[in-house]
């Protein structure tokens, strides 16, 4: 079992900011738009370097999505920036018609996703965004796990032609992936091999899955941990290969249990190789105010919750 360590914690949104700057340097077609949240989205460095390629839209997210769609018609590669809530639910129809159905090369960069937004509370803590976005035909949905992976994903999606939803978060979390990694859209990352259970995790839950895996190993349970950073298109080959070996599944996501990663995995298994599965996800509720750690614990998204889910699912084999 590979041992993962970290020396610093950083927010994934800063990984986006660094990736956007790098993508802008590599390709002059990359432009950015923001709906009055430059600081929150960490877009300052890009704006300083490329002031003519940045568009301050104001608090008008619907207009931002439409303008982004229009910019692609002149060959630009626009990245929109606002909170995940305002990047999806607020503008679903604009994304659906002007971007997804129109096959526009827009990158929707969505920060402050999930409960870990914290004290602002449920109005801003979207837990339904993965579901909404993955239902749109042709939309790629990515939820990277740490600073380095978010930076790599940002650079990678600029080179991919088509609409992408990139989801990341607000709090500082362990940085444990390779700073020089090559991000492959749609390719699951084997974090640790194992034989007793497959844990498929996405976003902030990947580190918690690693922590759970270490504790499970002490108890004699060998967990295979796979980082599903791309929820759509899903790496079905990696999922089926793992479950063929382990025979049971735990999914972990900072999202409602309806419509997220867990459902995507369950669908693949139901069709190809039915297996017992437990969900570590928010149980069809809204969030509330609190610190990120308090919220993850209260809503059942902690390391201990993954361990309990593993113990439960193994008994169902």
């Amino acid at each position: 079992m590979k041992k993962y360590t970290y020396t610093e914690k950083k927010d994934t949104r800063s990984g986006f900011g660094a990736g956007l700057l790098e993508a802008g340097k590599r390709n002059e077609k990359v432009v950015a738009l923001c709906a009055d949240l430059i600081g929150s989205l960490k877009m300052d460095a890009f704006i300083k370097e490329f002031p003519d390629r940045f568009f301050q839209i104001g608090i008008a997210e619907a207009n931002m999505m439409g303008i982004a769609a229009g910019l692609t018609i002149g060959g630009k590669i626009p990245f929109t920036g606002t909170f995940a809530n305002f990047s999806t639910g607020r503008v679903y129809d604009q994304i659906r018609q002007s971007i997804a159905y129109s096959d526009k090369n827009v990158k929707i960069a969505a920060s402050h996703a999930g409960l870990t937004l914290g004290e602002d509370g449920a109005t801003h803590q979207i837990l339904e965004d993965i579901g909404m976005m993955k239902m749109l035909p042709g939309m790629v949905v990515i939820n990277p796990c740490d600073y380095n992976q978010t930076k790599a994903a940002t650079i990678a999606i600029a080179d991919y032609h088509g609409p992408v939803y990139l989801r990341f978060g607000r709090p500082s979390v362990p940085v444990f992936t390779d700073p020089d990694q090559k991000f492959e859209i749609g390719k699951a990352w084997m974090v640790n091999g194992g034989t007793d259970v497959s844990i498929f995790a996405t976003g902030h839950m990947v580190w918690k899955a690693i922590e759970a895996g270490e504790k499970l190993a002490e108890a004699g349970i060998s967990a295979e941990i796979i980082n599903i950073h791309t929820i759509k298109p899903l790496d079905t080959e990696a999922v089926l290969k793992s479950v063929a070996k382990t025979g049971c599944v735990v999914t972990a996501e900072e999202h409602n249990r309806f419509g997220g990663l867990g459902d995507s995995i369950a669908q693949v298994l139901a069709i190809n190789n039915p297996a017992p599965q437990e969900y570590v996800a928010v149980n069809d509720s809204f969030g509330e105010s609190g610190t990120p750690d308090q919220l993850m614990k209260k809503y059942g998204l902690d390391t201990e919750d993954i361990i309990k889910a593993v113990q439960k699912v193994i008994k169902r084999k």
């Binding site: 432009v31 008008a60 303008i67 769609a69 018609q97 096959d103």
Partner: protein, 281 residues
Amino acid sequence: MTPDIEKLTKTASQVRRDILRMVHACQSGHPGGSLGCADYMVALYFHTLKHNTEFNMDGQGEDLFFLSNGHISPLWYSVLARAGYFEVSELATFRKINTRLQGHPTTHENLPGIRVASGSLGQGMSVAIGAALAKKLNDDNRLVFSLHGDGEIQEGQIWESAMYASHNKVDNLISAIDVNGQQIDGPTDAVLSLGSLRAKWEAFGWEVLEMSGNDMADVVRVFDLAISKTFKGKPIMILMQTMMGNGVDFMMHTHKWHGAAPNDEQLANALGQLEETLGDY
């Protein structure tokens, strides 16, 4: 009537025939607004736009047009076909299974001339602004046009884009509103009054022009005037007075033909009022 205006008027008569025959053939679609905007669209494509019928999505070096009130698709399809983007015979497939001429315009079926889907209202001005911004970044001095329904401006996104365009001096954009005073449920004044459109758009910082939208000479005059006002720091709004159903007597002065198709007898009556100038498809 100058030769140019006469030619445009004849083209508009043929386009109106196309609209009625398309809507009749599939017994669905929106003839009212399509007929009302026929003179605008014909003048746009046959007089005003610098465009290339060898369609290229990016449209660099060309003027671009975005139809935001996508339900008047039969008009757009007829004009695109008559301008040479695709064969006029394809108009017979409008709204039928496996067609590129979907009920509302889309890029999804790769129909030449269309750059974004529309139908869900209020979105086209934002897209047009984005395309206009890309032209500025690309040092492309061609223009961007967009058309909207008057009922459509009840959508909030229109006003987001209105505020953005003036603040950011998007002065390579010429938008127009089809002011026919009608929407599906009745007159706009009864459904949700629009108030003074001139006062609203001027307050939002736009250069406002008025067009008599069913008088071809005035349509051409105002297009030329609008172009003379581009690149002067303001986006341009044309308030275009039209009559829904224009050209067919029994389709005017009512909102009932917004989204209804004529039967055989009504079609014959309507076609009798419109000269076949370029040959029916």
